[in-house]
């Protein structure tokens, strides 16, 4: 059902865990569809210095989040927002059709974390003013 590349990443997903000092957190999905992804970032000067994730879900969900975090680590937030599910799928060599939504969810998880960061920044700005 899954190709070898997917299984390889599933065995050793990258950037798993929580992130102390994270200033951005995104959460997408729900347990009804079977997948919940959380992405945590440390963003300094618009650059994603570090990123970690936790995922409840199938292998496709776990590998999609792993690949997404690798794609954005060290990138600016604008660059990170350019990441698409197609890029994730290309790196994975494809996912079974019913699992493609997992790659979309990973793309949305990045957006969700960056939106959270921007909200926090706005809040800080307001407080400073």
């Amino acid at each position: 059902m899954y190709n070898e590349k997917v299984m390889e990443i599933f065995k050793n997903p990258k950037n798993v865990g929580s992130l102390r000092g994270a200033n951005a957190k995104g959460r997408v999905g729900n347990s009804a569809c079977g997948d919940i992804m959380e992405i945590y970032m440390i963003i300094e000067n618009e650059v994603i210095k570090d990123v970690k994730f936790k995922t409840f879900g199938c292998a496709a969900a776990i590998v999609s989040t792993s690949v997404a975090t690798e794609l954005i680590k060290g990138k600016t937030i604008d660059e990170a927002l350019q990441v698409t599910n197609k890029q994730i799928l290309d790196i994975l060599g494809g996912l079974p059709t019913p699992k493609i939504h997992c790659s979309v969810l990973a793309e949305e998880a990045i957006e969700s974390a960056i939106n959270d960061y921007r909200k926090r920044q706005e809040k800080l700005q307001k407080q400073a003013n």
Partner: protein, 396 residues
């Protein structure tokens, strides 16, 4: 974790290996008695004799007449045929069918097809253990009800229904009663006359027989529409050359299942109890689904909180351990199992459910190895899950 060469099969409810005695019974019929059982000559008569022996063995096992057994390509075909064939042949009496929410898809999807044809179908709810709600059954029966189909035992959680009570209720109301006994057969005695069952489905590959053959029992007095037209095979109800080696194997498998039933059930019960004990001692935050007593000993449905079933399955597979999420027929679908939802599990718990099913080949070593690996897999996945935090907060 590294991958391994060790193999542990804990998916007997999906299918079983073919027993040696069964294989021995089948082999001479591939190139020996290879005649077409419908032919009049000696080759045909030999093949026909093999089929009739198999039919007699199956009939004897469920206490019906041999001419009430129709061979099919398997349990799915038998279930499809029972629902559609019985409904179509009896629609002059009414257009209402009652089944349960936890049936196999071969029943549920056949019922959906009947709905398209204008029949009305009631899907009975079940309680937390998977037993059908009797009050709801009585409420559902009306003057148009022509067929009730309730599975003997569930393939995902193992719960055994009160067959006799359901059959008697149907009988009193003059309604045909069918039961899907594919998963149940070989676990307890099923006497169709004593229980009052009008129709019953069986499959060979769940009882150490070959894949590709099953049968439908239909009581002689109950009309059923032919499934396949094109010949006189199976009393003109299911045309097509009968698979002689498979029928021979099926008959033998049924005979052995009954012969060894009490030994098998006792052995498997011991394995099950040992497994559950080890599981509870080694892994926290789990729940065992289904009825505590009234269930197949061979199936253990376990929900692991905070993690998802497919990931568990794949990581166990890397260790050579074969299990299922829900049932093999629904894996690959995104929806949580309809059975687990029907017994009231929330999505998160349902998604984290694994079916372990034991059989004749299961050893204590298999269970020790499985629990050892399971502990590591569950810990690893929980460390990756955003839901696990909740538990830690509660504990602190």
């Amino acid at each position: 974790m590294e991958t391994t060469n060790k193999k542990v099969y804990l998916d007997y409810a999906a299918t079983t290996y073919v027993n040696n005695e069964v294989l021995t019974e089948m082999l001479p019929n591939f190139s020996g008695s290879y005649g077409n059982a419908s032919s009049l000559h000696g080759f045909g008569r030999d093949a026909n004799a093999v089929i009739e022996t198999a039919r007699e063995r199956i009939a004897k096992a469920i206490n019906c007449a041999p001419n009430e057994i129709y061979f099919t390509s398997g349990g799915t075909e038998a279930n499809n045929w029972a629902i559609i064939g019985l409904a179509e042949a009896n629609k002059f009496k009414g257009n209402h069918i009652i089944t349960s929410a936890i049936e196999h898809h071969s029943i549920l999807d056949a019922c959906k097809e009947l709905e398209k044809r204008g029949f009305k179908v009631t899907y009975l709810p079940v309680d937390e253990y998977g037993l059908i709600r009797f009050d709801k059954l009585l409420d559902a029966i009306d003057k148009d009800t022509i067929l009730i189909s309730i599975m003997a035992a569930n393939n995902e959680i193992g719960t055994i229904q009160h067959l006799q009570a359901i059959a008697q209720t149907a009988k009193e109301k003059g309604i045909i009663f069918h039961t899907d006994a594919v998963q149940a057969f070989g676990n307890f005695a099923i006497d169709v006359q004593k229980l009052g069952i009008d129709s019953l489905s069986l499959s060979a590959h769940k009882i150490y027989g070959p894949k590709g053959i099953g049968c439908l029992y239909v009581k002689r007095s109950v009309p059923i529409k032919a499934l396949i037209n094109g010949g006189n095979q199976e009393y003109g109800k299911r045309a097509g050359t009968v698979n002689v080696p498979a029928a021979a194997g099926f008959g033998k498998a049924v005979q052995i299942a009954l012969r060894d039933m009490s030994v098998n059930v006792q052995k498997i019960r011991a394995m099950r109890e040992y497994f559950i004990k080890q599981l509870k001692e080694n892994i926290e935050d789990i729940q065992i689904n289904g009825h505590p007593n009234q269930k197949l000993q061979s199936i253990v449905s376990v929900s692991f909180e905070f993690i998802e079933g497919e990931s568990i399955l794949l990581m166990l597979d890397m260790q050579g351990i074969a299990v299922s999420t829900g049932s093999a027929c629904t894996s690959g679908s995104l929806q949580a199992s309809h059975v687990l939802k029907a017994i009231g599990l929330n999505d998160e718990i349902a998604q984290g459910t694994i079916r372990f099913s034991f059989g004749k080949g299961t050893s204590k070593d298999d269970i020790d190895y499985t629990v050892e690996k399971l502990k590591v897999v569950v810990e690893k996945l929980r460390s990756m899950s955003p839901l696990t935090k909740r538990r830690k907060k509660v504990n602190v």
